[in-house]
C-alpha cells in the first residue's frame, strides 16, 4: 500500500481523512484516489492534526519577529517517508506575512500489545512516525507547539523542549531566547469559570501539609468548579498535579499536564484541534 496512505490512515480517524479529498478539491472520492501525490497532499493537512501534546509560548517582548523570519527558509512539504533515518527533520516551513508554520518529523520505537490469537497477546516493537507542528500567529504573538507522543510520562516536558530547540537550531535560532512558556493553569481556570471548559478530575497538593487531594466527578456532565480543590488550585494554595478537562463544543477528554502542557486523550481532528487552540489562545 502507498506509504503516504498508510501514514494518513494511521494519523486520522476514517471520518476525518475521507473528508480530505473534497476539502482539497481533488475531484475524486477517497476510495477512488490512487495517486501518490494526492495522498501526500492529504497527509500534508493530516500532519497538522492528531498530536497528543500542545504547548503555548509567547514571543518575548524584546524580540523582533523579523529576526526569526529572516532566518527561517521556506521549504515545500517533504515528509520523511519512507523513513530515511529516525532523526528529527524539518518537513515543511511556510512564512505568511509575519506568521509562520513548521512541520517536523522523526521516528521512534514503541512497544505495543498485539493480538497473536484470540487468547494470546504479545508485546511487539513498532517503529512509528512522530510529527511536530508549530504555528505562530503574530497578531497574538502566540506560538503553539503540537507534538505526537515521544517518551513516557513527565519526561515529555523535557523532550518537547529538546525538540523545539533542535528544530529552531537548524535555522541558527535559539528557541529559549525567543519565546517564553505560557503556564496553563490560570487561563484554563478562567475558561472553566466561563463555562467553555469543564473539569471532571482535579488533583493538587497542599504544599504546606504535603497532602495530595483529588476529586473525581462520576457524573459525565458534572463540572467540579464549585469544589474546594478547584478554588485552592485557582488561588495557588495547592500546587497543580492534574486538571482533566472537557470542552463544551465537542466530546473528548484532555488535561493540563506538568502545568504547561495540554495532553489530548482523544483522536483529535481538524475541527476540534482548531476549537481547542482558539479557545485557549483567545484568553492568553
Amino acid at each position: 500500500m502507498n506509504t503516504y496512505k498508510l501514514e494518513l490512515e494511521r494519523r486520522l480517524n476514517k471520518p476525518d481523512y475521507t473528508k480530505l479529498p473534497q476539502a482539497l478539491g481533488l475531484g475524486q472520492t477517497y476510495s477512488d484516489i490512487t495517486s501518490d501525490n494526492d495522498f501526500k497532499k492529504m497527509l500534508h493537512i493530516a500532519d497538522r492534526y492528531g498530536q497528543k501534546y500542545i504547548m503555548f509560548f509567547k514571543l518575548k517582548e524584546d524580540v523582533n519577529i523579523n529576526t526569526i523570519l529572516s532566518n527561517l527558509i521556506n521549504k515545500s512539504y517533504s515528509p520523511n517517508i519512507p523513513m530515511g533515518n529516525m532523526n528529527l527533520k524539518v518537513a515543511y516551513v511556510k512564512k505568511t506575512g509575519n506568521n509562520f508554520e513548521i512541520i517536523a518529523n522523526s521516528y521512534s520505537e514503541v512497544m505495543k500489545w498485539k493480538d497473536i490469537t484470540d487468547t494470546r497477546r504479545e508485546k511487539v516493537s513498532v517503529i512509528t512516525r512522530r510529527v511536530a507542528y508549530i504555528e505562530y500567529n503574530h497578531s497574538t504573538k502566540i506560538l503553539t507547539f503540537a507534538q505526537d507522543p515521544i517518551g513516557e510520562g513527565a519526561g515529555i516536558t523535557q523532550d518537547m523542549s529538546i525538540y523545539l530547540n533542535e528544530i529552531f537550531s537548524e535555522y541558527n535560532l535559539f528557541f529559549d531566547d525567543l519565546f517564553e512558556t505560557i503556564e496553563l493553569l490560570k487561563p484554563v481556570c478562567t475558561l472553566i469559570d466561563d463555562g467553555v471548559l469543564s473539569s471532571s478530575k482535579l488533583q493538587g497538593t497542599d504544599e504546606a501539609t504535603g497532602r495530595q487531594h483529588e476529586t473525581v466527578g462520576k457524573n459525565k456532565r458534572d463540572n467540579l468548579k464549585d469544589d474546594n480543590i478547584f478554588k485552592a488550585l485557582k488561588d495557588e494554595s495547592y500546587s497543580l498535579n492534574r486538571i482533566r478537562l472537557g470542552h463544551k463544543n465537542f466530546k473528548g477528554t484532555f488535561e493540563v499536564f506538568s502545568g504547561n502542557i495540554l495532553r489530548i486523550w482523544f483522536n483529535i481532528n481538524g475541527d476540534n484541534t482548531s476549537e481547542l487552540k482558539t479557545s485557549i489562545t483567545s484568553i492568553l
Binding site: V216, N219, K220, T253, W265
Partner: protein, 242 residues
C-alpha cells in the same frame, strides 16, 4: 417508531399513569423538582440525579426510580441523560469511567481515559458491573416542572381527597426515619398531623384566587393544628430522651 415527548412534565405524568403510580404523580413531580433545586450548585449547568436519594423522597423503590429516570431520559430530549458508570479494569474496586448511554458500544474501547489508571478499557453490560447514573439539566428541568398556582391546586388536591394515600405516605416516611420500633407509631401520628396541615394548606392554595377572609381563616386554622407538630420534631431530634 419511538416517539420523543418534548415535555418532561408530560412524560413524567404519563409514566406514572402507565405504571399504576397515578396517585403519586404529584409527589414524583415535586420530589424531582425539589431534588434538582436543592442539589444543584450555583453556575453548574448539569447536576447528578441519584436514584437512591430521589427514591427516599418518593418511596417507590430504587429500581423503579431508575426505571422512571431511564424512561424520562429515553422519551424526552435535553432534560435528563442516562449514563453507565464502570469500575477500572486494573483496579476493580475503584471507579473508572462514565459513558453516556447514547455513546456506549458493547465491548468497544472507551473514548475517554479511565479516571483511575488512564487506560482505555472496553465494557459489556452483560458481563461488567455497572452503576446507572443520571445527569439533569438544572434550568431545563426547573423551567419545565415549574408549578403555577393553578398547577399547585390541581396537583396537590389529590392529597385532599385521598385519606388512604395520606396513610400510605406516612408509612413510607416512617420507614425512612430509622426510628426504634417503639417510637414509630408516635412518629406516624406526627407525620399524619403534618400531612393534614399540608392538606389544609392546599385548600388555602385552592382559595388563592378567592376571598381573602377565607384564606386568613384557613391559615389561622393551620397554625392551631400545627401546634402538635412540635411532638414530631422533639421525637426526631431526641428531645424526649432528656
Amino acid at each position: 417508531m419511538e416517539i420523543i415527548l418534548v415535555n418532561l412534565k408530560q412524560a413524567l405524568h404519563l409514566y406514572c399513569k402507565e405504571n399504576n403510580l397515578a396517585e403519586l404523580a404529584c409527589i414524583v413531580h415535586i420530589a424531582l423538582l425539589n431534588y434538582i433545586s436543592n442539589f444543584s450548585k450555583e453556575h453548574i449547568d448539569w447536576t447528578n440525579i441519584s436514584p437512591l436519594v430521589l427514591n427516599s423522597y418518593i418511596g417507590i423503590g430504587e429500581d423503579k426510580t431508575i426505571d422512571l429516570l431511564s424512561y424520562l431520559a429515553a422519551n424526552t430530549s435535553g432534560y435528563i441523560l442516562e449514563e453507565y458508570r464502570f469500575n477500572c479494569k486494573n483496579f476493580v474496586d475503584d471507579y473508572g469511567v462514565t459513558i453516556e448511554k447514547d455513546d456506549f458500544v458493547e465491548n468497544e474501547k472507551t473514548l475517554d481515559p479511565c479516571q483511575k489508571c488512564d487506560g482505555f478499557h472496553s465494557y459489556s453490560l452483560n458481563i461488567d458491573k455497572v452503576e446507572y447514573g443520571f445527569s439533569g439539566n438544572v434550568k431545563a428541568i426547573q423551567e419545565d416542572l415549574k408549578l403555577s398556582d393553578e398547577d399547585i391546586s390541581k396537583e396537590l388536591i389529590i392529597l385532599n381527597t385521598n385519606e388512604e394515600h395520606v396513610d400510605k405516605i406516612a408509612n413510607i416516611l416512617v420507614s425512612k426515619l430509622k426510628l426504634e420500633i417503639s417510637k414509630q407509631p408516635e412518629a406516624k401520628k406526627g407525620i399524619i398531623k403534618y400531612l393534614h396541615s399540608f392538606r389544609e394548606f392546599t385548600s388555602v392554595l385552592a382559595d388563592i384566587s378567592g376571598d381573602a377572609s377565607a384564606i386568613t381563616e384557613n391559615v389561622v386554622k393551620i397554625g392551631k393544628d400545627a401546634s402538635g407538630m412540635t411532638d414530631l420534631l422533639d421525637l426526631l431530634t431526641g428531645k424526649t430522651e432528656s
